[in-house]
């Protein structure tokens, strides 16, 4: 029961973290100035974006939940169980971020999720 609760926490927080991060970075637009001053301005701007800060909190929860998961379950269970986040994120990228996800991207996401699951063995 605890294992599946941790899997749900890892997947849910990874999905939310990536989705909010992508949303905020799309709002910012393409970063073109990589000089220290330009990057400083970008970091200053991002530090005020509440969804990005929330995304980092979700990523931290996901990281620590995954560390806890591998202490109570085998890695060969933890990695495949959490690889499903690839498919969930692709679905939400289509619905929430309005990305054009064609057949090649669906096939790619599914193959990668299956590949990650096999890597754990």
């Amino acid at each position: 029961m605890l294992n599946w609760l941790l899997v749900a926490t890892v997947v849910g927080c990874t999905v939310m973290g990536d989705l909010l991060q992508s949303l905020e970075m799309k709002q910012l637009g393409e970063i073109q100035d990589f000089r220290p001053g330009g990057l400083g301005r970008v970091i200053g701007y991002l530090a005020r974006r509440k969804y990005l800060l929330l995304a980092i909190v979700f990523m931290a929860i996901s990281f620590f939940a995954f560390m806890k998961l591998v202490t109570v379950a085998d890695l060969s269970f933890a990695v495949p169980a959490t690889a499903g986040s690839f498919v969930f994120e692709t679905i939400l990228a289509r619905i929430v971020l309005k990305e054009r996800v064609d057949g090649r991207r669906w096939a790619g996401a599914c193959l990668v999720a299956c590949g990650v699951a096999l890597l754990a063995h």
Binding site: L28, G38, E89, L97, G108, L118, L119, H121
Partner: protein
């Protein structure tokens, strides 16, 4: 494909390589440092603070910060549904580093997994990295880049 598309594709590939390498080496050095120092991590935050002063762990954490920043930059112009599968090659890089540096066993299933990931990346890499128009920001003057 026009010049702007070529520029975006080149920039995307460069940042994808940075994300993959910094992530793989960051995790590797973190693991290496924790193994070498025999650090036992409990629920206490003190253990994490002590662990971070190991030079290998510090290097690992620094590389993972590079990973986070490079990934954020990549997401500023590329789709999430493109970035996720393309940077998944990091799983393969980690498996190969385990094989060559830590002399871990790579089973046939792992090689099959590697093949599936590479195939998946092959599908996604042929698509355009950006399928959505850049969004307008409410405060256009606030846009820093």
């Amino acid at each position: 494909m026009d010049a702007a598309d070529r520029r975006i594709r080149l920039k995307t590939r460069l940042f994808a390589v940075i994300v993959v390498l910094s992530g793989a080496f960051g995790n590797f050095f973190l693991d290496w440092g924790l193994r070498k120092s025999n650090t036992q991590l409990s629920m206490s935050p003190v253990d994490y603070v002590v662990a971070i002063f190991d030079p290998w762990v510090t290097l690992g954490v620094a590389l993972l910060i590079v990973w986070l920043l490079a990934r954020m930059a990549l997401l500023s112009w590329a789709d999430l549904s493109y970035v996720l599968p393309v940077t998944a090659i990091g799983y393969v890089a980690t498996a190969l580093m385990g094989r060559f540096f830590l002399h871990e066993q790579v089973t046939p299933q792992r090689w099959a997994g590697t093949l599936l990931i590479v195939l998946g990346i092959g599908f996604v890499a042929r698509t355009n990295p950006r399928t959505t128009p850049e969004r307008e920001i409410a405060l256009a003057g606030d846009r820093p880049c």
